[in-house]
Amino acid sequence: LLPSRLTPLSPQAAMTKLGQWLCGLALLGSAWAALALAPPGLQPPAPLRQALLPLPVYLLVAFGCYSLATVGYRLATFNDCEEAAVELQEHIKAARADLRRRGLRL
């Protein structure tokens, strides 16, 4: 598993995650608004505008589907550690016996 890498930023200079999201949304939002809601003189060609207008909703739905699929997949592949539970029971037995031998009084 790869370690995480971090470009060192001073705490003051780093933006919060919320800040990053707002910046990103503002950027994308203004680009979308500029293209999709432009006055007649500056409008992009009709087919592009037709695709652009519902794009935010499409992206939201796509993200929703991605989320469901990812969580579903991760749920389905969540390992059940049967052997770990069995092994623990054996270790507990051994531990109790040894501790009793060493003088532990419960």
Partner: protein, 242 residues
């Protein structure tokens, strides 16, 4: 900075009413460390348990020696974060392991944490239930769904660079944990999350080792609505402030 000189692992064990599990986890720890030749000490921070945990701890101290078992109790239940701070004052190891004392975490993973730490000279090695052959025993579908859903949310919002943010089975270099304890303010699950998030902010490196989590308590303590709400509040706070 490779560690030079003798290495020692200090295990911090905050306990509350762990009369039955404490001797077992200490036995497993001692066995694991002696089998792998790692020098260790176990610091038991009991918050005034009414069930006799401290008496059992004293017996363990006699059996294993007071250089290996350090009893540093507190008068009453004061919370996990402060328990770590309190315990760390007495830690003489250069690595600190934090883990649950209820046998959900098996000490056998600690040598793997150390191996991983050396592999990449990591500041933190985090046990993960969500990667590799990590996993959980004793959870039903609903519990697993909540776990995966919550984890997905934290990944999307915080992009933390670690797969298991609410896990509490970790190895820290001592200076790293000390630095983080100064900065972390949350409680409960969120506290463990905040440690990883702050670690990233401070430029610390995090390695991961798959672990198995054996939940023998779940049947009795269902995950309540309250816990979910406080988790979400904590997550949003971290989202907005880090």
């Amino acid at each position: 900075m490779a560690a030079t000189g003798p290495e020692r692992v200090s295990v911090l064990l905050p306990t509350y009413n762990e009369r039955d599990n404490l001797p077992l986890v200490v036995w497993l720890l001692a066995r694991t460390f002696s089998d792998s030749g790692i020098d260790f000490e176990i610091i038991i921070i009991d918050d005034g348990s009414p069930d006799g945990t401290q008496e059992v701890a004293q017996q363990l101290e006699k059996i294993y020696g007071s250089d290996k078992i350090l009893l540093r109790p507190r008068a009453k239940k004061l919370g996990l974060g402060t328990a770590y701070i309190h315990g760390m004052k007495y830690a003489t190891g250069n690595f600190i392991v934090i883990m649950d004392a209820d046998l959900s975490h098996h000490p056998k993973f600690i040598p793997e944490f150390i191996r991983k730490q050396k592999e990449g000279n990591f500041d933190i090695v985090s046990g993960t239930r969500y990667k590799g052959n990590g996993g959980v025993y004793g959870w039903d579908l609903k519990r697993k769904l909540i776990s995966r859903g919550a984890n997905f949310l934290t990944q999307v919002l915080l992009r933390p660079g670690a797969s298991d943010l609410t896990g509490s089975f970790r190895l820290y270099r001592k200076e790293v944990l000390q630095k983080l304890m100064e900065k972390c303010v949350s409680k409960g699950y969120v506290f463990q999350m905040e440690m990883i998030v702050r670690a990233r902010q401070l430029g610390f490196t995090i390695g991961e080792v798959p672990i198995s989590f054996v939940d023998r308590v779940y049947g009795e303590s269902k995950l309540g609505g309250n816990e979910i709400v406080s988790f979400l509040k904590g997550l949003l706070t971290l989202f907005a402030t880090t």
